[in-house]
Amino acid sequence: MEKSLTQRMDWLHTWFGLVLGWLAFALFLTGTIAVFWFEIQHWAQPELHGAKMLSPEATLQYSVDYLQKVAPDSRRWAVTLPDLERHPLLVLNWLDQNNAQQFARLVPDGSGRKVTTVTNGGRFFVDFHWTFNREVQDLSGRTFQWTYMLSGFVGVAFLICTITGLVVHKKIFRNFFTFRRQAKSVQTRWLDAHNVLGVLSWPFQFMIVLTGLAFYSYLYIPTGMQMAGRYPSPPGVAVVGGGGPGMLWGRYASDAVGKVAGNIVEPGNPAPNVPIADLFARAQAEMGTLSSFTVNNPGRDNATVRFGGTRARPDAITFTADSMTFDGATGRVISPAGNTVNAVQKITNVFGGLHFGFFGGTAMRFLYFLCGTAGTIMIGSGLVMFTAKRRAKAKSAAARRFYEFVDRMNVTAVGGAMFACASYLWALRLLPQSLSDPTGGFSGGVYASIRAVPLDQAMRSDLELYIFWLAWGVAAVHALVRAPHKAWAEQFAAVAALCIGLPVIGYLVPNCDIGSMIAAGDWKMVAVDLGGLCIGLMLACAAWKMSSKRVDVRVGNAVRAPALSPAE
């Protein structure tokens, strides 16, 4: 093998980067889109567009009145309050006379309009980003999930590439300022682009992959958790499930309709209760913005009212799990607010907070999005560089065939992933609302997972996913049959057309056109459309550059470029 340490690190960087870069690109792309998953969720539900939202206090009063009307004798009400800034959707749950769960997903404008679109929305990108879109099982099930094992391994490979990247690019300061845009050799330009993006956003890339892995690290090889599970744990502390997907995604202002039946307390005697609005004001004073509340036995003398704070606050990096419980009849505090998590859980919560980027508001999310984009392009340029560097120097026929195969895989991984995501967004917009799951769906709180059902039984949420994978398959076939340099340009052009088309197809669906949304001041929805438009224009520019003859000649045919190792 290679003689020096730098060369061996170069080998590791190259091969881990190539083989896992194909998957890493898709993970990075969906992760970057997922920064705005709430906004995309909002964008995918036309009923919510342009609605005049009530204030938090008025929303609370409205939901209490609503539940008082439909279920005055219920044993439990459970309400997910809307996230007015990002994804305003009000979900009311209650138990009926038979203690069966009923729910209503409402537009929080006081009109009582229901949201009937059941969609994977932006949540799909989140789930794909760490499971390749397979069902996430409860941690206590401890089933072996090869999909998130795989995504974890891709993460480790990416972490290794960020570290070895530092070793092979020893002249890091020079790389930072070097971008030979006019360089004769295409390879030099790709190398410089890869280096500049990598060096510039290195702290972000390292942080994002490290925190993502650290947050779920005990899931991937859970031997430590299993060992800990053999010890008796102190009462009230569960070893597994204290934090994890369930805790995180719980019902944080999403449209998951969680199961609320369980631990039902027998109702006491009818008794006057303290107005819930008063308790709400007290809880809000203690915990800030509230995301949910649950009432057990409303209108009885053993009523309890529990308020949940938001999982993530804009002013704190870490996740919190604040909640506060009142006696509903007297207004006495039963359990005060306070974040009671384990010591190590606190550390992983900070990792989680850094990774998910819920803090710091919109500006911070744009920064995450930009850095994520830089990382995505860095992976893509690294993949391209692999072939650009070697194909020209290929000596044997076997080697040439191998590089051609790599090139086709690159198109499938880069162009195909983008094409699939853009097609998915079209599916979100264009699939008819009437195909939605009539029961409301997602009662287990699980979103994106492929169900293998015949096409005529498929619901809207299934079809969205079918379209995603079908689009990727079409792109893969296209990459196999076309000459690689043509396939690159054509797939970029197709993605560009789809992205630019996003605001246009809004006019085909009621309540989705960008003009009236600007008039209504729904900037969340408009921003997704305009974002698609901007990205589409940039991709169109890239496609145009790729299709021009000069690039074709240099990438396609051998150019006698001076040999240049990444260490230069």
């Binding site: 093998m1 972490l159 490290l210 005990y218 991937y220 090889i221 569960a238």
Partner: protein, 119 residues
């Protein structure tokens, strides 16, 4: 195994632009990748159990904390193991180190007294 060797040789030919007869390089690539990815996995697997056990038995961490801590340590161990194996100058040394460390960790996790019976 033969499939792995075949793939290894394809990759090796492609990488070096060399001839198919150059098998020592193939062996090296397969050995290094296996030691890094699989050997590193085995070390990480047992490191989790060992760290959790040490943290509970000797430290004062609760089981919940120890389980999560072991996850964090495992991440460092796997990443470090892959890089170290690829940085090692001799493969014999790398395999030996993996074997010794694994034996040590298995010893801690399984043989050390103190594990309560599984529920």
């Amino acid at each position: 195994m033969r499939a792995i060797a075949l793939w290894g040789s394809i990759v090796a030919i492609a990488v070096r632009n060399g001839k198919a007869s150059d098998t020592s390089y193939t062996r090296l690539v397969v050995s290094r990748t296996a030691a890094a990815v699989l050997g590193g996995y085995v070390v990480t697997y047992w490191a989790g159990a060992a760290v959790a056990k040490i943290a509970i038995e000797w430290g004062s961490l609760s089981p919940a904390d120890a389980g999560m801590l072991s996850g964090l340590i495992q991440l460092v161990v796997y990443t470090g193991a892959i890089i170290w194996v690829c940085a090692a100058a001799s493969m014999r040394k790398a395999w030996l180190a993996i074997a010794v460390v694994t034996a040590l960790l298995v010893g801690i996790a399984v043989l050390l007294p103190g594990t309560p019976p599984a529920p």
